[in-house]
Amino acid sequence: MAKRAAIVGTGQTHHRSIRRDVNGQELINEAVTRALADAELTIDDIDGVVIGNMDHFEGINYVDCWSIDGSGGYLKPTIKLTTGGTTGATVAIAGYHLVASGMFEKLLVIGWEKNSESDTTGAIITCSDPVIDRVVFAGAVAGLALEAQAYMHRYGATPKDAARVSVRDRRHACNNPYAHLRQEITVEEVLNSPILSDPLRLHDMCPRTDGACAVIYASEDVAEKITPKPAWVLATANRHMYSDFTDVLDVSSLHSMVGASRELWQKLNIREPLKEVDVIELYQPYSWAGIIWIEDMGLCPKGEGPRLLWDGVTDMGGELPINPSGGVIATNPIGATGLIRCAETVLQIQGKAEARQVPDVKLGVATGFGGCFWTDMIAFGSKKPN
């Protein structure tokens, strides 16, 4: 019964800090309508819906039901998934599983968030253990700052190295009409922005964004009839690693990324990802992740990430462009963020990425990152897998 599966259509909203013109359902509708139009399908063609966000950002915990004005899920099988920051990547993996199972032929997958509707840290804090972490150590910035500090201490990198990551992604975002922050910044501007939690400054961090993304999966029976260029799912991997933040003593590496990427490269029979992968959309919520996590992914040995950045290896036109879309540093509607990574990778495979297109992409990788340091990875390819 197992089927090969591909993404055949994508849609996303124009992302902003506050989308006052629409409520949550209407925001979702915008992405879904665009995905259906991209695939030249109607809602009647869709035989199931997977949707995800983080409950506490909007204070709505039955989103599968509440969202049907937007999702088109009226009287269809509809499933909600929530896994924190990885939600958008998780719905993509789950969508793949459902279609690959042979039980769904054309499946709509949605990630969304109206981050403007609540206190992001107040909501994120609900991801952490209430008795231990929440009392002394929680929230989005502090945990990442701890990682950056540990890495800096161990490998001697500097805040200037990390600033180069923000500069790259903000420059890339200028090519993306959907991106939230579309102004270039300089290394000096990053280094002079307000300090949040040592060593992290404002421009080291992602923004919070209102936005939604939708993709349509199709099984091998129909994918090539829908589009001449399906983006086939080649492999997925994910790792969770959390009970308390402080369980892991060595936080200079993202251990879930190490584990997930090793599995992914093995499944793809890849030995040198830097040479063999054409583009990566990295869920990179802060600048330092653009150094630490690409090392953990095996693009280079530990400690050599800054060199890749300064040499322009990960810039547009470099050997392995990372985040042609501008990534999470430019746009972060949290429940949609992982799915945007997938949709942007699919656009690259399909050759539809316009001003942000990397030439001749045959293999692209999208990742997801969740608040308690877990990792999702999905590889898309232009060639139907055997």
Partner: protein, 154 residues
Amino acid sequence: MGDFWSDAEAIIHESCIKVPYSWQAGETASYFLTQLRDEGKIWGKKCPCCKKVLVPPRKSCPFCFVATDQWTEVSDEGVVESFTVVRRDTIIQPKKAPFAYALIRLDGADTGLVHVLGEVEPEAVREGMRVKAVLADDRKGSLLDIAHFKPVGS
């Protein structure tokens, strides 16, 4: 090894979640609410596909999944399709118990509107009862700008 743990004091960590929200109504509901606040009028939106008038208005029809396209004013009078009586106070309720909630179909609307009934004994509420909106004196752009619905003729 005995049950050394079973005698341990169970620690209960008391906490609370208090998160502010700023829910954007969107332009469709904003028009509905400002018209209610400023003009005391109730507007619905009509689906071009199933022709239903949706009140409160929706930007897209949940049944047909198409954009609604026609604003339609509906009556401030309607009929009680169903109701319940709240008997216990909780902080989320807009009135002190006991009071009745009703599912009201306004004349000219094809969907129900849930609201509070007033100026009536809860025991006297019946399905099929005709009711009329009573506007609040101090209106703020909220569905509670309708203070309650009262029986027609009362």
